[in-house]
Amino acid sequence: MGNKLTTSEIVAAGLARRRRKETTFRLLGILATAVGVLFLGVFFATLIAKGASAFKQTFVQLEITLDAEVIAPGGEIDLEYADFDGLVRTALRSRFPDAKSRADRRELYRLISVGAGYQLRDLVASNPDLIGAKQSLWVPASSDVDMLLKGNIDASVEEALRTMSDKQIAWVESLENSGEIRSEFNDALFGNGDSRDPELAGIKGAVMGSFYMLLVTIALSFPIGVAAAIYLEEFAPKNRWSDLIEVNINNLAAVPSIVFGLLGLAVFINWMSLPRSAPVVGGLVLTLLTLPVIIIASRASIQAVPPSIREAALGLGASSTQVVFHHVLPLAMPGMLTGAIIGMSRALGESAPLLMIGMVAFIVDVPGGFTDPATALPVQIYLWADSPERAFAERTSAAIIVLLGFLLLMNLAAVIIRKRMERKW
């Protein structure tokens, strides 16, 4: 070479610059990885910070007289129309006799949730002997009181700009000082359906809706997915048709989920006239959505079964169907189950297609079957996230925590199945 310098001298000269580039590149890599991990950290931190308090709820103790005149006018118990709210109000008035004017009283009544009346009704219904007696009951406070005690209402702000007046705050303080207010585990969150009143709104309806939907989905998509995978892997001739199916399945797995919603709306609701907002329709749409996922996972786990097993069984005179059902299927089952659980966890988190088929309605009743109007847990989150009340933001976070909990459990199950039943060939 014509150069005067030796190779190692040239290399040494450029080394510092190259090392700097190397370090920069490496730092970029660390930074990028940190972005994802950091987001996850921030995300869970804000979620828990916002949602943890929703698992507790504020209750107020009231001395309520179960006045027979009100509950059973004319001797007959009238659960439907009796003024239970009135009993609660009477109790409030006697606790705070200083509230004389109508305006004051109205403010006073707003300390207690409308749920208190329902609680009284249920108490009387289950135990009619209590009528006429004086009861000391813990009834749910209104969401404003709840928010105040959880520190979400700033008393130092100008009175007109906050949801609670000075008087109300004073009453709450008086209750607090005499130990007539306490925070308990929030049963309503898990036991109630949706409600316009944040302190009464719960996720039970949504959870049950999701449950019925997933039941339909798993019952359809697992057998169909496994059957399709078996056909494609074991029986399908390698021709245009099977190529088409193959390309099709891979594409379906990447089609935006909202398009499946359009399909559900046009086919299941408009054409087949299945009921709107019903878990069965949601389940059908989610079946179509998760089918590609399950087929792809099942095919992979069938491919992992070594051909020698098939040859051994065929050599003993088994028919190809027998080979599949006696040998391949049992060996591939763990992988298929894992795939099914992953598919189900995707279905559980899915909400966009459900909006299309009317599962966004405000539904108070907990669904009791596959055709009852229902909503789903992620859709409930979407609905609550849209509500302006401060108390709903807290409940949204709590619902997200519950949803993520379910997803975590499902994925954990998948991991355990994979670990437990994994076979090395």
């Binding site: 150069n3 190779t7 190692s8 040239i10 290399v11 450029g14 080394l15 190259r18």
Partner: protein, 307 residues
């Protein structure tokens, strides 16, 4: 990538550093011993190396080198001198550590997370494992040719120009052209590729690809070239061409070659080192190793009794 494999004497290539031992090097298999016997023999092994580990003009010197992969002690107390402009062949049965030792010489073992090297290896009197030594600069001086031809998915020209470019060796385009041409010429490939420099390197045949890799290595103008079974994936004709090439290259470079073929070792090398289970058993001039081996294991191996 497909490689023409013409005879069965060529062992199947694999990506593992150690290819399976050649089975047909010695057609007389009557005296072969089984694996069990072979392992029993291992108890005779000591750290002592027979023969002469030293040479007249030592350029790279390994002193008491040990390599561990996790808990696995892969190389045990190996000391060896490699002379300037000499070809030294490392032979031995599969898994004996010869490739591992080779990869120590340009610190390619650094890329394996669990690998640990102790002892010293010096290049021109300086420890290559010292702290200030940049492995990048070391590898520019100690080039490597791999078992399987591995041209980059770039044009033939870019393959050869890669090294000079990253190290900034060529001042301008004309100089780079010259380096590429000289390197290809020295690798004996220029005539075949001079009209198709823009075609991808992967379009060449297996033997041509390997010569391209050699051209790529010498384009950086290293001082030592390490060859890890460079012919194991090639047919006999391509192998012969590479061996001729080595003869020419040893006028300028020290060459360390790992090989499974004793004929190849006999043809190309001046000295031979026999490895066995991570130990360096015997080192001597090629003539002496093949005519009058000192150690029984060496003798068993070259007569084909261990395989």
């Amino acid at each position: 990538m497909t490689m023409p494999v013409m005879t069965e004497t060529i062992p199947d290539n694999s990506t593992a550093p150690e290819a399976p031992a050649p089975k047909a090097d010695n057609p007389d298999s009557a005296g072969r011993m089984g694996l069990d016997e072979f392992l029993e023999q291992a108890t005779d092994l000591t750290d002592e190396t027979v023969g002469t580990v030293t040479c007249d003009h030592p350029f790279m010197v390994a002193d008491d080198v040990n390599v561990y992969y996790g808990d696995n002690h892969a190389i045990k107390h190996v000391s060896l001198e490699i002379g300037k402009k000499e070809v030294i062949a490392l032979i031995g049965p599969s898994g004996c550590g010869k490739s591992t030792f080779l990869r120590c010489l340009n610190r390619m073992n650094d890329t394996i997370e669990t690998a640990r090297v102790t002892g010293t290896i010096t290049l021109d009197g300086k420890d290559i494992y010292r702290k200030e030594q940049d492995p990048v600069a070391l590898r520019a001086r100690v080039g490597m040719v791999f078992q399987k031809p591995n041209p980059f998915p770039k044009s033939i020209y870019d393959n050869v120009a890669y090294g000079p470019r990253i190290h900034g060796i060529a001042a301008d385009r004309a100089e780079l052209d010259e380096i590429v041409h000289t390197s290809l010429e020295r690798a004996g490939l220029l005539k075949e590729v001079k009209d198709r420099m823009d075609e991808p390197g992967t379009s060449l045949s297996g033997g041509q690809q390997q010569r391209l890799c050699i051209a790529r290595t010498i384009a950086v103008n290293p001082e030592v070239i390490l060859m890890d079974e460079p012919c194991s994936a090639l047919d006999p004709i391509a192998t012969a061409r590479i061996e001729d090439l080595m003869d020419e290259l040893c006028e300028d470079y020290a060459i360390v070659i790992v090989t499974h073929s004793m004929q190849q070792a006999a043809r190309v090398s001046k000295r031979v080192a026999y490895f066995h289970l991570g130990l360096l058993v015997e080192v001597d001039s090629t003539d002496r190793i093949f005519t009058n081996p000192q150690h029984k294991l060496t003798e068993d191996y070259i007569t084909g009794r261990i395989g």
